[in-house]
Subunit: 251 residues, 2 copies
């Protein structure tokens, strides 16, 4: 297991893939999301240059892929088997959305279960007999006008959801933690607004006798942007410069 | 606006794309998720056969793509501009995860706003000056070992999240609504369990004096599977057949 493998025991199984490029693109999509175990059931053409090329920096995933002859071989030791499927099937099966699938696979891997994710042929998906080997079917919700995802794209979405489930509440550095400046406190902002108003009056843009909505709209603007301390300093420096110009002008 | 367009006003903008295949794959990814407005800023090679081929049934999205010379032209009438970005930037910007981006774009389109989603070059993404035209940057969380998504894959994930945000609580037909049989009620299941236990005793597999955990485990199994009425009927028919055999044997 390499460091790139965040989900040991979870394998992506591509069944009778026709285009080697899709194998490479799927490998890249997997590795981007922390999955590295790839099994190919009876691929049309493999190994192949196009698969290596499209994998970009996931060549290791492609070259360590296991090739087997049947779906049964691929899933033999799997404790959870999930197959991608279009929505409508004659016999309904327990269905997962891509998001639910991500949660289930992430949890199963964490519980040290072996998981097989079956992706079917480009032309016709998984056969009914293959789908009937699955505990769950997973469907990626799409628009109605065009519901057929490219194979590697489907792998991307499913693996993306697996990683998102793992990351859970761990968000990116956002305003709250990843900002490079301290946010200004209300007192500092209030002093800025006061300074701004004085300056607006000073330059004759704002008439306190006929205020219209000017100050309200400026307040909304600057509050929406959530000023940091450096920005307040900059703005006040700017206002001070205006003030100075105005007083020079008057004197 | 075609029926395929679920997000009027929301456009995908590909900036200086090198590989025409990525344009086609992005178009397919968009249409799968209900977006059809594509703008190409100074593409390296377009129109192109490979773009058409890779778009599959999204040729209409490719052929109606608008080609412009600059990012400014592409976003001129956009009320919300979001640019894809790697995590680390010298100057932090308001960041969205892909999921948050989906929610924002879906809501903005619903509010009839024009939205531009900027995707950068395969080699080096968006330039700093382009990123600084954005209200938000969006980052697709990845594993640490390999964080560089293929361009069209990034389009797929973002568009996927836009549609999921729109679908919101609207889940797929699942066990709750899409099953072809009525689920058995608790009473029917309880009668089944009674019948099962009698039969287990009858065939000598279960000793009520030394129950171990047999019944508990069987209950858990059948409750986990959530039996429908037809399945209960089938199982009870099976048990009855066993009962009959046993009584024939005794007599």
């Amino acid at each position: 297991m390499s460091d790139a493998n965040l989900f040991p025991g979870a394998r992506v199984i591509l069944v009778e893939t026709t285009h080697p490029g899709n194998i490479g693109a799927a490998a890249r999509a997997m590795k981007n999301m922390g999955l590295t175990e790839l099994v190919l059931v009876n691929p049309y053409k493999f190994p192949d240059e196009e698969a290596m090329y499209r994998s970009a920096s996931a060549e290791d995933v492609v070259s360590s892929a296991r090739v087997v002859a049947t779906v049964d071989e691929a899933i033999a030791d799997c404790q959870l088997v999930i197959g991608t499927s279009a929505r409508e099937r004659r016999i309904p099966w327990p269905m997962l959305t891509a998001r639910e699938c991500g949660e289930k696979v992430s949890a199963a891997s964490e519980a040290q279960q072996t998981v097989g994710l079956l992706f079917g042929r480009e032309s016709r998906g998984l056969k009914n007999e293959e789908l009937q080997k699955c505990h769950f079917h997973v469907n990626i919700p799409t628009g109605e006008a065009y519901s057929s995802l490219n194979l590697a794209m489907a792998v991307q979405v499913i693996c993306y959801e697996i990683l998102q489930a793992r990351l859970g509440g761990h968000h990116l550095p956002s305003d709250e933690s990843g900002w490079d400046q301290v946010f200004a406190d209300a007192d500092a902002v209030e002093h800025f607004f006061g300074h701004l108003e004085e300056t607006l009056v000073q330059v004759g843009f704002h008439d306190p006798e006929n205020p219209r909505q000017l100050l309200t709209r400026l307040r909304r603007l600057f509050n929406r942007v959530r000023l940091d301390q450096m920005e307040v300093n900059m703005l006040r420096g700017f206002l001070s410069a205006i003030n100075k110009l105005g007083s020079d002008h008057q004197s």
